[in-house]
Symmetry: C2
Subunit: 154 residues, 2 copies
């Protein structure tokens, strides 16, 4: 047991959860400001990122990969279809299953939107040394591993 | 400019935003599993944490401190009042303004719920050296500083 211990009487900002949540919110705000120029909501961005890696997967699989509920994913995909970013195609063999494909527009956005992400990563890292950024990613990965191991047995 | 550079063709997991978001989601999941035993939702938890620091503040101030919209805060406070965690009191001098106070129940939950947070911080840190955890917090703080400086001028 280390001694990086949370003190309930210390300011909120001393909690690890606070630190990670605030950083997440700020990175997301930056992306939102970029995406709004293209009339893209942040929820659509997470779906696009999944489809840019693998196109033509099921709604359920998208939901699983992003880690949001199926009804929320469904609603998001409906908006994305209306925005002509994706189209839904009934799966051969199982007509109840929808597969989601990017449209030309959805594919074309990849370069410019990932460009924003590239900028954001550079801005965030600023003059922080590479080794420190690498240690950050390594530490966050370790933390997830530690917490994951306890998730099912609390 | 450092060279911890995001490569659009690398896996999603190599992006800083992904790392921070996934870690946030996992820490939140752990807390959710603890809170559900007390019939507390995660949104209530964020409000409680603000009120445990300062009781009797306005709805708008709660919304600002958590960083969620005022309508969402209002709805959350309505649920918390129904759950008898808080009570809303009209401000003297400005009857349109509601001040939010913890009930006895709301106050009593502090010890047990912060106990879970204490456990979570210990579990997350595991055997990661103190110096590494301190560097993590320092680096996240620096990243927020870097990104905040660019938020208004993109």
């Amino acid at each position: 047991m280390n001694s990086f211990h949370f003190d309930p009487d210390a300011p909120l900002s001393s909690s690890l959860g606070y630190q990670v949540r605030e950083t997440h919110r700020l990175l997301e705000s930056y992306m939102q400001q970029c995406l709004v120029r293209h009339d893209i909501q942040i929820g659509m961005w997470y779906v696009l990122r999944v489809l840019w890696v693998e196109d033509g997967i099921s709604q359920r699989e998208i939901s699983r990969r992003i880690g949001i509920s199926e009804p929320t994913t469904l609603e998001q995909l409906r908006r994305m279809a209306a925005r002509r970013l994706v189209r839904r195609v009934k799966a051969k063999g199982d007509r109840r299953k929808n597969l989601i494909y990017l449209t030309g527009d959805g594919k074309e956005l990849r370069e410019v939107l990932l460009g924003y992400l590239e900028d954001l990563n550079d801005i965030a890292a600023g003059d922080i040394p590479d080794a420190t950024m690498e240690l950050l990613v390594e530490t966050l990965t370790k933390i997830r591993h530690n917490v994951r191991g306890r998730l099912s047995r609390i």
